[in-house]
């Protein structure tokens, strides 16, 4: 019986793709990979740098193991690792990804001294009173009056926006931009259905909520449909 190949190499337009079998042991895989690549380099043109994508199927690799494989491939002079693709995620990773993308709905009034923080987008049904803060890794939407502090994209997402039914904050932050709101702005009567975002000059600006359709089309989560 012919021995099954644990490492298959395919050439594509974008470079090499290494398919690594996910049933054999890691040690075996490493050994075979080393063998295959050593055999291969001899026929390659040394001046040409080849990008490599590694596909590891349903195998889970720890960070150290990934680093080990990358190192192994890098040792072959003209190969450079583009990325490692895997079909599997750890539960923690999956949870983190979900938290980052999900819209957390909260019905409450965030009062003075209270802090409401979420990892993803925040949809607050209620007010944020002066002295209260809402912080989100993503966007912040307030169905109510925003009078306190709001910090969107707190992990450095400059695309994040803040929108409120009534936008009268004491301070706004998006990513690392801070905007102190002038009293004149707060004393103006109407600030209904407005939003704030970072413009191309790296400043927080206010506008009607409808402008988001143009400047942040990525906010749409709806897939398909016409």
């Amino acid at each position: 019986m012919k021995k099954r190949q644990n490492v298959t190499i395919k050439g594509t337009k974008g470079g090499l793709v290494l398919h690594l079998d996910d049933n054999c042991s890691y040690q075996e895989l490493k050994r075979e990979l080393d063998e295959k690549l050593s055999a291969n380099t001899r026929t390659q043109d040394d001046r040409h740098l080849l990008p490599v994508t590694v596909n590891i199927g349903n195998r889970y690799l720890t960070d150290e193991q990934m680093e080990e494989l990358k190192e192994l491939i890098r040792q072959k002079k003209n190969l450079v690792v583009d990325g490692i693709e895997s079909n599997v995620l750890t539960k923690d990773e999956a949870k983190r990804q979900r938290e980052e993308t999900e819209v957390v709905t909260v019905t409450s009034i965030v009062r003075s001294g209270q802090v409401l923080q979420v990892t993803g987008d925040l949809l607050l049904i209620g007010d944020v009173n002066p002295g209260g803060s809402v912080i989100a890794g993503g966007n912040i939407f307030v169905m109510g009056t925003l009078r306190g502090m709001a910090h969107a994209g707190c992990n450095g997402n400059e695309q994040a926006v803040i929108a409120a039914s009534n936008l009268k904050p004491s301070q706004l932050r998006i990513s690392d931009c801070i905007n102190r709101i002038s009293e004149a702005w707060q004393n103006e009567d109407k600030h209904d259905m407005e939003c704030a975002y970072i413009n191309e000059n790296h400043q927080i600006v206010f506008d009607r909520i409808q402008t988001l359709i143009k400047i942040r089309p990525n906010l749409t989560r709806l897939e398909g449909g016409h």
């Binding site: 009034i109 009062r111 003075s112 001294g113 002066p130 002295g131 209260g132």
Partner: protein, 267 residues
């Protein structure tokens, strides 16, 4: 089994003690058996406002530490026929002398014998506040139409809402000056209730009579002619479950106006 109501505000000087004294008095006037508890240990003054200072023998800390029985420490208000009592705070120690669990025990015991326990809370959100809130079933937040007082009330409401054993707090707006509210120099009632979004249980106009009465050790609620007195009596009746409309501010304005007219008429 009675009901314990804590009167709190966060900010100092908005009228917690005056409100406690007057709500207690007004409830007693309605024929309820009331016990006032001063939890402002170290800075007591509910006894002064009630005019009961010179009759204090034991205090709250004595009760908690077991130096006397509760009924020995209670000061009876002679103006009422056994309906109004005061448990004074200690003056010689500070707020750390009592723990929330001890307060809870004390209030539970008082609830057996009284219809209403009115707890006067100290300013701040530290130990004293925690003690005062520990035994309470309901809370009334007192604020004045000032931005700073409303801010602190907001903070306190946030903390009260986290107390699982308590009902949602009610609001009293104290020291309203109608002319300033009209001119926009003071927050108006709607603005405050919208901002704090809790149920309004009463509004009390700023009245010099209140200060005069407090200084004489007689709660204003005893004087049936004063506007503030009527406001406090109305609050007491709302606590008892009656539905009474708020005194319209317009009318108050008219009163001032007619008083002025009368004044000039006399001249």
């Amino acid at each position: 089994m009675g009901e314990a109501i804590v009167i709190t505000s966060g900010k100092g000087g908005v009228g917690k003690t005056t409100t406690s004294a007057n709500i207690g008095t007004a409830l007693a006037l309605q024929g309820k058996k009331v016990c006032l508890v001063d939890t402002d240990i170290g800075l007591r003054n509910l006894d002064v406002v009630m005019g009961l200072e010179n009759r204090i023998i034991y205090d709250l800390v004595d009760v908690v530490e077991g130096r006397c029985k509760i009924h020995q420490a209670l000061v009876k208000d002679k103006r009422f026929d056994g309906l109004l009592y005061l448990l004074p705070a200690a003056q010689t120690v500070d707020k750390s002398a009592v723990k929330p669990e001890q307060m809870q025990e004390l209030i539970t015991e008082l609830k057996q014998d009284y219809d209403y326990i009115v707890i006067d809370c100290p300013a701040g959100i530290e130990q004293g506040y925690k003690n005062a809130v520990a035994g309470a079933d309901k809370a009334i937040v007192v604020t004045t139409p000032e931005v700073s007082a409303v801010r602190d009330a907001d903070r306190i409401i946030g903390l009260l809402e986290k107390e699982k054993h308590m009902e949602s707090p009610k609001l009293i707006v104290n020291r309203i000056r109608n002319h300033m509210m009209k001119s926009g120099d003071m927050l108006d009632i709607d603005e405050i209730t919208q901002h704090l979004s809790i149920e309004l249980i009463g509004i009390v106009a700023d009245d010099e009579e209140v200060i005069r009465a407090s200084n004489h050790g007689e709660p204003i609620a005893l004087n049936p002619n004063s506007k503030a007195s009527i406001a406090y009596r109305n609050i007491a009746r709302r606590i008892l479950g009656e539905s009474i409309p708020l005194q319209p501010l317009e009318e108050e304005n008219k009163n001032v106006f007619s008083k002025l007219k009368k004044f000039f008429g006399v001249r």
